[in-house]
C-alpha cells in the first residue's frame, strides 16, 4: 500500500489547521460536483421521476442541503476549546456547514441566481466573522493559490 490515509468521519485531535483546510477544500469540491449533478446532471432526471411536477430548483436545493446536513450531524459534536480547536483533524461540523453553505451560495451566484433569494432567506446568515473560520479559510486559500488545475478554479474563487 502506498500513500496516506484520509479518515473522514472520526474527528479527533492530532490534526492541524492545515488538515482542516484540506477538509474544507474537499467539501467544496464535493459541493460543486454534487449540486451540479442534482440541478443539471444525471440526478435531475431521476428527481424529476421521483418528485414529478413538484420538482423545482428550490426543492432540489432543499434535498441537497438535507442530505449534506444529515452527514455532518450523524455523530455528536466534537468537544473542543480554544486550546484544542486547531489540533482537530476536521473542523467542527458547524464550521464545515458554514463553508458548505458558502460554496452553495457561490455556485448559485454562478449558475442559478434564481436560488439566491431562497438560499439567503432560509439558510444563510451574514458572513461569519468566527476567528477559526477565518484561519481555516486562510489556509485553504494559501494551498489553492499553489495549484493550477482548471478543475480547482471554482473552489479557488470562493476564497
Amino acid at each position: 500500500m502506498t500513500g496516506s490515509f484520509f479518515s473522514d468521519l472520526v474527528n479527533g485531535e492530532g490534526g492541524s489547521i492545515e488538515d482542516q483546510g484540506k477538509e474544507i477544500h474537499s467539501d467544496g469540491l464535493s459541493v460543486y460536483f454534487g449540486i451540479y449533478g442534482v440541478m443539471v446532471g444525471d440526478r435531475r432526471a431521476v428527481a424529476n421521476k421521483t418528485f414529478g411536477a413538484a420538482t423545482t430548483d428550490e426543492l432540489l436545493l432543499s434535498l441537497y442541503i438535507i442530505g449534506v446536513v444529515s452527514f455532518l450531524f450523524l455523530r455528536p459534536p466534537t468537544t473542543f476549546d480554544p486550546s484544542t480547536i486547531e489540533t482537530l483533524t476536521h473542523p467542527p461540523s458547524a464550521i464545515r456547514l458554514e463553508f458548505i453553505m458558502r460554496h452553495l451560495k457561490r455556485w448559485c451566484e454562478e449558475s442559478r441566481r434564481n436560488l439566491l433569494a431562497f438560499l439567503n432567506a432560509t439558510t444563510l446568515s451574514n458572513e461569519s466573522t468566527c476567528p477559526h473560520c477565518l484561519r481555516v479559510q486562510e489556509r485553504s486559500m494559501g494551498r489553492n493559490k499553489s495549484r493550477s488545475l482548471n478543475s480547482l478554479t471554482m473552489s479557488n474563487e470562493l476564497f
Binding site: G3, K22, L29, S30, T50, S70, F71, L74, R75
Partner: protein, 147 residues
C-alpha cells in the same frame, strides 16, 4: 431498520449509468452493488485505467467495525471507501428523515412509495457528498502531506 432486507425499494436509479434502470423495484441487497457499480462507471469514464487495465479510481463499500469514510491510495489506485456501518447509518438516517413530518410536507410525500423514493433520494445525495469529498482528497493532491 424496519425489515428492509425483505422490502423492495421501489425506485433506485442512481444515475443514467445505472445498468438496470427498471422502475419495478429491486431487493435492497442489489442496491449496494448497483450504487458502487454506477459510481465506478462514472469514475472509469472520467479517469480511465492504469497501464495494466486497473481503474485509476475505485469506490467500494468496505467491511469494518468503524463508521467512517476513507480516501487512500492503493498501489496507484485512488480508493474511495465508505464503511458498511457508515452506509447503514446514512441509510437509516435518510429513512428517518423521509418520515419527518416537515420534510414529507416539503416533498409532497403521501404514500409509502413516495416515502421510499424520497428515502433513496436523500441517501443518494448524502452518499454522493461523501464520495465527492473523498474524491476531492485525491484530486486535490492531499496525499502529499501524510497525516
Amino acid at each position: 431498520m424496519r425489515g428492509y432486507e425483505t422490502e423492495r425499494i421501489r425506485y433506485c436509479i442512481v444515475c443514467s449509468m445505472d445498468p438496470s434502470p427498471e422502475q419495478q423495484g429491486i431487493p435492497l441487497a442489489e442496491l449496494w452493488p448497483r450504487l458502487a457499480l454506477a459510481t465506478n462507471q462514472g469514475l472509469l469514464v472520467q479517469h480511465g485505467t492504469l497501464p495494466d487495465g486497473t481503474p485509476r479510481y475505485q469506490f467500494e463499500f468496505v467491511d469494518s467495525q468503524e463508521v467512517n469514510a476513507y480516501a487512500v491510495e492503493y498501489f496507484g489506485v485512488a480508493m474511495l471507501c465508505m464503511t458498511i456501518p457508515l452506509r447503514t447509518m446514512l441509510w437509516e438516517t435518510s429513512d428517518a428523515l423521509s418520515y419527518n413530518t416537515m420534510i414529507r410536507k416539503r416533498f409532497g410525500v403521501q404514500t409509502l412509495e413516495h416515502q421510499q423514493m424520497l428515502h433513496v433520494e436523500i441517501f443518494s445525495t448524502v452518499q454522493g457528498f461523501v464520495v465527492g469529498h473523498e474524491y476531492g482528497h485525491h484530486s486535490l493532491g492531499h496525499h502529499c502531506m501524510p497525516r
